[in-house]
Symmetry: C2
Subunit: 333 residues, 2 copies
């Protein structure tokens, strides 16, 4: 049906090798010949078969993005960024929801390998060292997003989590909070851990500090909701809450509303991430904003550079976060 490289070769009276050369823009082709070949390609409406190219070259112009769950707005922004970069570089992206399950990730990685995928952006904290090694062996490039690890044998992009947490607490102190609690994310998640550590560093020397001011919220809205109820039962005098991410902060708000608390008068709330949800709550949420799109963008760019052989060493990139003050900590005027 569709024209093949052979048809083009025949029509332009050259060998398939030469046609292949002009397809792949290999310089050593006579301009004259090139013109002839190009004309033939147009005439025949020739389009290279990407699958055949992939089989022969072991490069498929495809990358994968593995993340816990696309429904999380943080990740959907990441996806958008990665896809944009991929698209403008001639790459296609395969999306994989792992739900944070190692088993799911495992099986994804397996089929991705069988598909000759060129690289993976891994947006999850669950990646294991063995996997990294395996991918290296298979010549599949890897960039990890939002990953905290002491040993780095691959490129990592992340935001300054610990520093952000300190900024959050510092802000709450500044506006006059006398007892600040923290709702933290999943244990085992390094990002959650770093934010918790930032909080602890800021508060551990205060006389009011107690480890019972730490409550788990699982990085979900409902987790934040439940955590708040539990927290206020034990510490009715808390007047500031730093939630480890925005989703939990939303849950905090819901709980406080339900309990009839005034925000920020009775209690100030600060989240982390900077997803757009923080703008639609009432009051709007103060948050430590990560440059979400930039995180995804940078990850994709680095990955593609690696794939194209333009980048050798593995680096760790830490992007800055910024405090966005809103009504959940400061009453407008």
């Amino acid at each position: 049906m569709a024209a093949t490289i052979r048809d083009v070769a025949k029509l332009s009276d050259v060998s398939v090798a030469t046609v292949s050369r002009v397809i792949n823009q290999i310089s050593t082709v006579n301009p004259e010949t090139q013109k002839r070949v190009k004309k033939a390609m147009e005439q025949l409406k020739y389009e290279p078969n990407l699958v055949a190219q992939g089989l022969a070259s072991k490069k498929t112009q495809t990358i994968a993005l593995i993340l816990p769950n696309i429904s999380n707005p943080f990740f959907s922004d990441i996806v958008r960024a990665v896809e944009d970069v991929a698209q403008s570089n001639g790459f296609t992206v395969i999306l994989c929801n792992s739900d944070g399950l190692v088993s799911k990730e495992q099986s994804y990685i397996e089929v991705l390998r069988k598909k000759y995928i060129d690289g993976i952006v891994f947006a999850s904290n669950t990646l294991r060292i063995e996997d990294i090694e395996q991918l290296k062996k298979d010549n599949i490039s890897l960039v990890v997003l939002d990953y905290s690890s002491t040993m780095e044998s691959c490129s990592i992009i992340r935001a300054k989590n610990r520093e952000g947490a300190r900024m959050a607490v510092s802000h709450l102190l500044e506006i006059g909070c006398k007892k600040i609690a923290h709702i933290y994310g999943p244990i085992g998640d390094q990002t959650a851990k770093n934010r918790l550590e930032g909080y602890e560093e800021m508060v551990h020397s205060f006389s009011w500090y107690s480890p019972t001011l730490l409550v788990p919220g699982h990085f979900t809205i409902n987790g934040g909701f439940e955590a708040t109820k539990m927290l206020l039962e034990k510490h009715p005098d808390v007047d500031g809450i730093f939630a480890g991410n925005d989703l939990m902060a939303v849950g905090v708000l819901k709980a406080l509303h339900q309990m009839g608390k005034k925000i920020p008068e009775d209690l100030a709330v600060c989240g982390f991430d900077g997803i757009y949800l923080t703008e639609i709550t009432q009051p709007e949420l103060t948050t430590i904003a990560q440059p979400i799109y930039e995180l995804g963008e940078k990850a994709a760019k680095i990955l593609i550079n690696k794939i194209n052989g333009l980048l050798e060493e593995d680096n760790v990139y830490e992007l800055d976060v910024t405090l966005i003050k809103r009504d959940s900590t400061i009453k407008a005027h």
Copy 2:
């Protein structure tokens, strides 16, 4: 490096054809032989090369999902559903953000074709008849989501938009609204149009009705915000607003808050879609919920059935919507 079908053939002392047969579970293989081949595959840790399979069979076990923008929470739920179904059927999904631009869609379709993709779930209203025909010719299956068209030459999954709109208005009337406005989505978008029509059918015979109660909101939060300001300037006595989607309803809420209106006492608000955002606003939003996950799930299932040749005719599936009453229309006493 990795074992190929030939290695397996050699080790199990059969031809590659036979190995291929056991890989593809073709029945005509002697159980004895089959066992031998399978043992060899295990020994060699053989894994079929999907790219090679694709080239030879023109089937890649890959589908694509084209949608306007993953950042829209409605679509991220759709993605999740499609990916889940694909995953559990051995398919991989390529994600494409079109921004609703025909040009982008066009270029995506082109590369998808070159990649021997098996099928496409198209979640957008911008698909053109020519494209449908072209895909058919290329033997690429197609299922369209949330698409309204009089002529159907492909399978379509959508919710009952017109009926949902009528339910929304009907509910607002029941709770006592005396003058109901509608904020509608992009003109040209059939879904937006159907919802608008549902509204009109319900209100056109009332004496208070006027076409100026219709305001455009572009299906965005900000659009809903601006529309509300405009609307209340012209019609300060409006006491009910039906927003064409939840995003706009959120914008409505923001605007009303800013104007100091009480909800639902001064003004009741109803959205459409049933995204989870409606649960985090204050007050929570009444909405006409579509079965979002089910929409995506059904689309993916039908697509895969088509690909596997289990489905012939093209049908239109209209899923039911449900009214979810919340505080934006009824004060929980």
